[in-house]
């Protein structure tokens, strides 16, 4: 059952005790719990909608923006979709117990490296109440106890969702305390959660820069920060220009507010005269604001000239997250790579090329989580990568780089079996 009255520390200690039991709970029980959660969400929809209506009302009184209210709002259809995602997670392979390596050592010891849960994962998130269930389902499937800390604006919705999930899970044998929500959305609770060294094994923040900075200042337990994405599409001299145009349009416009959307287009000087007039017109027609360097402006052609803005230095470093694109011309793959390694955030970077050597250089030299050859940056996503759901996307290099799925919510353990072996 979800805890809403205990202190943050007590909640975390209960989660740790639950985690130690949960690590040994077999997949059948975890999957039955996920199925029970999905069913309970549907069965108890009126209860959820009632709590959500009170959050919405308070949100309107507090003057939340329409966008925030939309994130906060649950509907029967949205709840059904959340339940569907829980069933999708149940259908994934269990990462726990997967043997990831091992051998018989020369002395006869049998060494096995096996995947095991991290233990207690804390997820700190902002308005969207669906994260309560998504994150709980991913942690449960990967054998981790979860401590949730949502925002105060969704407190009633989150409390009901966490209670429903906790009750459904414990009813089929998941240890009590495996799914908890800490009460209080304040900075003090955040600091208490972020300093549970030896109890909380990982904190994953899902929210904006303010939340990240608040955590950076106080956290003593490990944090994986969700990525920002300053992503590039580079159109090489030998690119198929139709493919290049489709990829640029997709990477920029298909969903501009997400971290794997493109923010800068780089074009090789040899392709620029044919490509730029066409591409810039298409982008403009798609509603994209274009901030261009001098060479781009020269080659853009008269049809779009009036619609171009001059790129400022900071535009090359900006994650616009809206229909704005910086555009520049380069003289080589190497120059494109250097630009990307200097300005990019190491998220997702694409080359469009017909040249094997260019592709090979780009793949190797670009320092990013995901490098694309002749494909849109928009594919960086746990679902697209066949990992099922994801709890975020990492641009850090340690532990997890790229989508954070079930495996990335685990650590490993060496099991070494002998016959009385001692070291000489």
């Amino acid at each position: 059952m979800a805890t809403t009255a205990a202190s943050v520390t007590d909640t975390c200690l209960r989660a740790q005790a639950a985690a130690r039991e949960l690590a040994a709970v077999p997949s059948t029980v975890k999957d039955a719990a996920l199925e029970a959660i999905a069913a309970a969400l549907v069965d108890r929809t009126p209860e959820i909608l009632d709590a959500n209506a009170r959050d919405m009302e308070a949100g309107r009184e507090a003057g939340l923006t329409t966008a925030l209210l939309d994130r906060l709002q649950l509907t029967e259809a949205r709840i059904a979709a959340i339940a569907g995602q829980v069933r999708d997670i149940a259908a994934l392979a269990d990462p726990v117990g997967e043997v990831v390596g091992g051998e018989r050592l020369p002395n006869g010891l049998d060494l096995t490296k096996v995947r095991v849960p991290l233990g207690v994962v804390a997820v700190v998130y902002e308005a969207r109440p669906n994260v309560t269930i998504d994150a709980a389902a991913l942690c449960l499937k990967s054998g981790n106890a979860i401590v949730l800390r949502g925002s105060s604006s969704a407190a009633r919705s989150n409390a009901v969702l966490a209670t429903i999930a906790g009750e459904a899970a414990t009813a089929v044998g998941v240890p009590d305390g495996a799914i908890s929500l800490v009460a209080g959305g304040g900075r003090e609770e955040l600091a208490e959660l972020a300093t549970q060294t030896g109890v909380v094994d990982l904190i994953i923040p899902r929210g904006g820069e303010g939340l990240k900075n608040a955590l950076k200042g106080v956290a003593t337990v490990p944090v994986i920060f969700a990525a920002s994405g300053n992503c590039h599409v580079y159109v090489d001299a030998t690119a198929d220009l139709d493919a290049a145009l489709a990829i640029v349009l997709n990477a920029k416009t298909q969903r501009p507010g997400v971290c794997n959307a493109a923010e800068t287009l780089l074009v090789h000087a040899d392709a620029a005269p044919a490509f730029l007039p066409r591409a810039l017109a298409a982008l403009r027609d798609a509603g994209v604001e274009l901030r261009v360097d001098g060479r781009t402006r020269t080659l853009a052609g008269a049809a779009v000239a009036a619609d171009l803005l001059d790129a400022a230095d900071e535009d090359w470093d900006t994650e616009f997250l809206e229909l704005t694109l910086a555009v520049g011309v380069v003289d080589s793959v190497a120059e494109a790579v250097a630009h990307i390694n200097r300005h990019g955030s190491g998220h997702s970077e694409a080359i469009v090329t017909g040249d094997v050597a260019a592709a090979r250089l780009f793949e190797r030299a670009v320092d990013a989580a995901c490098v694309y050859v002749n494909a849109s940056t928009r594919f960086t996503d746990g679902g697209e990568f066949g990992m099922g759901a994801e709890i975020g996307n990492s641009t850090q290099k340690l532990h997890a780089r790229g989508p954070i799925g079930l495996r990335e919510l685990c650590t490993t353990k060496y099991v070494v079996r002998g016959d009385g072996h001692v070291r000489s």
Copy 2:
């Protein structure tokens, strides 16, 4: 060539530039560089001994302990041994480029997850000058640029060693700046190094608690702290008592000052009457100070009674790192597991048992990097595990758990190849 005059920041920026080139340098060149380093160490032994003699002299004047002076001292034989280790590292498989996963996605995209270097690894270490070469060789083999920061007491030795390694490596095609030593062993240089966000990808401290705490206070770049080890041997009811005795003696006495030595012996009550008198006498005869609980004292027998001390509460949490052992009696495997999970540091834990169910419970429920069944904890070591050399041992759960070898000095990158794929 090693940098000893530039600022820490400049050194790190040069290392980053070198790292980007080094990531694409093939194994043949890296192995040739390692061979060249090994040869140069032998060829230039007089130069190394001369610098080391000056460090030793300064150390004696500064009143360093005999133990510290021994760590600091290099001899012709020690230099030859260091060169041998470099050749051993050259003989290991290159982790860079290893494909660790991948598949053809349903939409036809080819997804490949490939191992790539971290980039710039900083190693901060205390007196032992051999770390200069060991760490440089491991980083070079794994395609990482290294920034070394040793202690001031070994400054002359470290400078010569880093210069020799850097010169030998660049002579065969390793980028300049791949092996650097920062001058100045002060806290300011440490803080400057530990805050190179976006430039230094990982700091590995090799030293005592003082060094760790100094880093914890200032580091903004990721740190993997070398482990402390409060390791246990649990002798189960069904243990082969001869094997149990051999394992306990080995785990405690074979090299008591290291992190994988045992600090606590737990004995099942059913085995205790037969095992304890014999084991305690053998441990005492091996020079081990015994700190025991009440039940152990009762069962120990007259022959050792006079040699037993009462265990204090803090003894169960202490990494003695010397010939001292806490000893307790438990009533079940579950009680042993609970004790270990409460008091252990998650390093290396052993059960001695003849019972399959007990072994299985212990393997699963103990939360540690390495769990042993019928073997000594002393095997936790990159060399013993077939990983070749190691740069330390991790008890943290993220990124690397257990020995940190060449693979753990890497991250991964997704390479995604398509035919103009866009996301719908």
